[in-house]
């Protein structure tokens, strides 16, 4: 790891060798990260429901089994609890497992293995054993997937000590963060915003979908590079108000600002990693703007936005000129037909901007 990758500014990114850059969708970038890591480290092992021959229901693991064989990329029985338990055991042997949970909505049967086991293995064995897993899982709504293909359960994992939680919002970050997650010796929950797998969502479900083609954040090096965990990204610099967001909502906030009449000069911070959180970037921004808005798709009560709001209040109280606003999913299950009333889209973000800028 030597040269910094200048195109995506920030000391946090390290590119070992300059490699050709290609335009990739987020799915391709994730596939490329897995491919890169499997080639570099023979301990990296990919497993999950339908990830082998078929290459995953979203194609994230396409081609990997043909390239690396069935001992390193394999289909599993349909038991999420089993997948994570087995991955922990493989990690104890010395492998670096990258299990996929087909949808984040199906991660709950694995909670015990994640929360009681993976999260605490290092602590309870005083470092004798660790769980170097990266659990990949598509999350979030926007595909008319109803209550079982739409949820954003990140708050369950951020609440539990011992798990890192990572969520990319661009193809470039998806690859760099996934590589850093796989190399991390602690368990990482890597939630992939499936709504922006193929394009940066603008928030209008009834307009043609945008594509990543030609997008600067979709220029992805073909080889190895890292985006360090725990470092946020300033997705848009500004002086009026700080927006804290991650995943799909980063793209929706940016689109809202671009389309809004009299848009505030907002600074949009893409958190990238929820735990550990880049508190310095957040503090610096809120101290500068004096206003803060938090946007996530997950339900509101006890969500990660509540944690962010508490932190900003504790640390930037004297700089705040207005109450912190949260734009979140409502505290209901994800409805099927009313998905777009539920989704915290442009209407709600715009109104929150107005409220935040009022006083």
């Amino acid at each position: 790891m030597s040269e910094a990758n200048e195109t995506h500014a920030g000391a946090s990114e390290v590119n070992e060798t300059q490699t050709p850059v290609t335009s990739m969708t987020m799915i391709q970038a994730i596939n490329s990260a897995l491919d890169t890591m499997m080639a570099r480290d023979e301990m990296v092992t990919v497993m999950g429901e339908d990830v082998g021959f078929f290459g995953g229901v979203f194609r994230a693991t396409a081609g990997l089994q043909a390239k690396y064989g069935t001992h390193r990329v394999f289909d599993t029985p349909i038991t999420e609890c089993g997948i994570i338990g087995v991955a922990i055991g493989m990690g104890a042997y010395g492998l670096r497992p990258v299990p996929e949970i087909q949808f984040a909505d199906y991660i709950y049967p694995a909670l015990d293995q994640l929360v009681s086991e993976a999260a605490r293995l290092r602590y309870r064995s005083a470092g004798e054993f660790t769980a170097p897993l990266t659990v990949r899982s598509p999350f979030g709504g926007g595909i008319f997937g109803g209550q079982t293909h739409s949820q954003s359960p990140e708050g369950i994992f951020t609440h539990c000590s011992g798990l890192k939680t990572v969520i990319p919002s661009t193809p470039y970050d998806a690859k760099g963060l996934l590589i850093a997650s796989i190399e991390d010796n602690d368990p990482v929950i890597f939630f992939e915003p499936k709504r922006i797998y193929n394009g940066p969502f603008h928030g209008h479900y009834n307009r043609p979908a945008a594509s990543w083609a030609g997008h600067p954040d979709a220029e992805v090096p073909e080889g190895y590079y890292r985006v360090e965990l725990g470092k946020a990204r300033v997705a848009r610099a500004g002086g009026d108000v700080t927006v804290l967001a991650y995943g799909t909502m980063v793209q929706v906030v940016l689109a809202t600002l671009a389309e809004m009449d009299e848009a505030p000069d907002a600074e949009v911070i893409d958190l990238r990693t929820l735990v550990p959180l880049d508190i310095e970037t957040i503090e610096a921004s809120v101290n500068k703007t004096g206003r803060c808005m938090i946007v996530h798709e997950a339900t509101r009560t006890g969500g990660f936005g509540a944690e962010l709001s508490a932190l900003v209040q504790e640390r930037c109280f004297h700089a705040l000129e207005a109450p912190i606003q949260r734009v979140t999913g409502f505290d209901t299950p994800y409805p099927h037909s009313l998905e777009w009333a539920y989704f915290p889209g442009q209407v709600r973000i715009r109104e929150a901007f107005k409220r935040t800028m009022e006083d």
Binding site: G145, Q147, R300
Partner: protein
């Protein structure tokens, strides 16, 4: 990394990863499947202890032979009228599936799942059970509702998530809930219904009721922990429940081998729990009927649970989101050795002289018309994404019996914001 032990001169270990018999482009073979002669598998007395019938978990209950004649001890000897009704229900299910699959392709809804090729599993079971018995299905037993004469328009309203959808557009298409038909709310999370069915059955027994429960899941779903919890409870409390595994050979892209099917039968899962277990030709409506009737008799006689593996084939993609050509041989469906359940029952009726080609063709036309008329009626209430959904504020209803302040506030805020935005 585990410390490397001193080099051993033992042979290196090998990891076994299952491979299906055929992949795309390859000839389909089902040589590994042993199909016993119809009528060969014995039928123990339904009061027999599970330990005395373990062989049945490795057999295959078949009634219809290769000439579609009913033979052997499991022949339920049904009157022709019942046979014709089962035939019609299967045909109606197939016509319904066909039409709703196309409706999804036309953009009228987000999702659909067919039961093509495995209609007998649900239809024959529904006919063998009492309408008062409680059903805990997976997403692929729409046939249960159809056999219980549930209104097709009501089912379609749910598929379209329209303004007449009794589930208010809250649930993914085909995840029906029909309390009035004793049909439990379907979950998208696999196998959760299994322990729930056992619990319902335990409650029925604890209350001295006479109703029993039945549940279904796919062979892939047997890997989930809930499957094993259900079997343990069912065994411990001798719950009056019928546990059905629909082994249609494929989960999504992974074949039954990834659920343990290479090493034993799914029916044999029951043996370790001391549960009476049957393996049944799932494409033989008479065998499914007979096995369900036998299991129901056990349950009603306080002989406890029965596990039934229905051996069948998923002839269509997993769902509208799936393309099976990417992972399995296209020739499989036609090579499947147990045939088509509708054709087999039709041929049986023809052989009995209780049916003829014209009546069959007329039936096919009638069910197609019936489904078409239902679709027309349902579409008057709207299709997905065309505005005819439940009012937006209904989203907040039903989270709790009474709406707490924070949901009331969120509801108000949503309506205010949409108004402010001029929507």
């Amino acid at each position: 990394m585990a410390r490397e032990p001193a080099r051993s001169n033992r042979p290196p270990l090998e990891l076994h990863v299952p491979e299906p018999p055929a992949r795309p482009g390859e000839a389909a073979t089902f040589d590994h499947i042993v199909v016993p002669v119809a009528g060969e598998t014995r039928r123990p007395d339904p009061r027999e202890e599970p330990a005395a019938m373990r062989d049945l978990a490795y057999g295959l209950v078949r009634v219809l032979d290769d000439e579609a004649r009913a033979t052997g001890p499991w022949n339920p000897e049904l009157p022709p009228e019942t046979l014709r009704r089962m035939l019609r229900d299967m045909a109606l299910t197939r016509a319904f599936d066909d039409r709703m699959f196309r409706a999804q392709r036309q953009g009228k809804t987000s999702f659909y799942m067919k039961s093509l090729g495995e209609e007998a599993v649900a239809i024959a079971a529904a006919h063998a059970l009492d309408d008062a018995d409680m059903l805990f299905p997976s997403y692929r037993q729409q046939g249960l509702l159809i056999a219980r004469r549930w209104d097709l328009v009501d089912m379609m309203n749910q598929i379209y998530s329209n303004k007449a959808d009794r589930l208010q557009g809250k649930q993914l298409p085909i995840m029906y809930s029909v309390r009035d038909a004793n049909f439990f709310s379907i979950s998208g999370n696999l196998t959760t219904q299994w322990p729930q069915a056992v619990g319902w059955a335990m409650a029925s027994a604890a209350r001295g009721d006479t109703r029993i429960a039945a549940t279904w899941c796919g062979e892939g779903s047997t890997a989930e922990g809930d499957f094993h919890s259900a079997c343990t409870f069912a065994s411990v409390y001798r719950a009056p429940v019928i546990l059905n595994i629909v082994n249609n050979q494929w989960a999504i892209s992974s074949f039954a081998g990834f659920a343990g099917g290479e090493n034993t039968t799914f029916a044999a899962r029951g043996i370790g729990y001391g549960i009476a277990s049957l393996r049944v030709d799932g494409n033989d409506a008479l065998a499914v009927y007979a096995a369900t009737e036998w299991a129901a008799e056990r349950a009603r006689g306080n002989k406890g649970p029965t596990l039934i593996e229905h051996f069948t084939y998923r002839a269509e993609g997993h769902s509208t989101s799936d393309d099976p050509a990417a992972y399995r041989s296209a020739a499989e469906a036609s090579a499947w050795p147990l045939g088509d359940p509708i054709r087999r029952l039709r041929d049986h009726l023809l052989g009995l002289g209780e049916w003829d080609e014209e009546r069959h063709a007329a039936m096919d036309r009638e069910v197609a018309e019936q489904v078409k008329a239902a679709q027309k009626a349902a579409e008057k209430n709207g299709v997905l994404g065309h505005g005819l959904h439940h009012p937006m504020e209904t989203m907040f209803e039903g989270v709790f019996e009474e709406m707490p302040w924070h949901l009331q506030e969120q509801r108000r805020q949503m309506l205010d914001e949409w108004k402010a935005a001029g929507l």
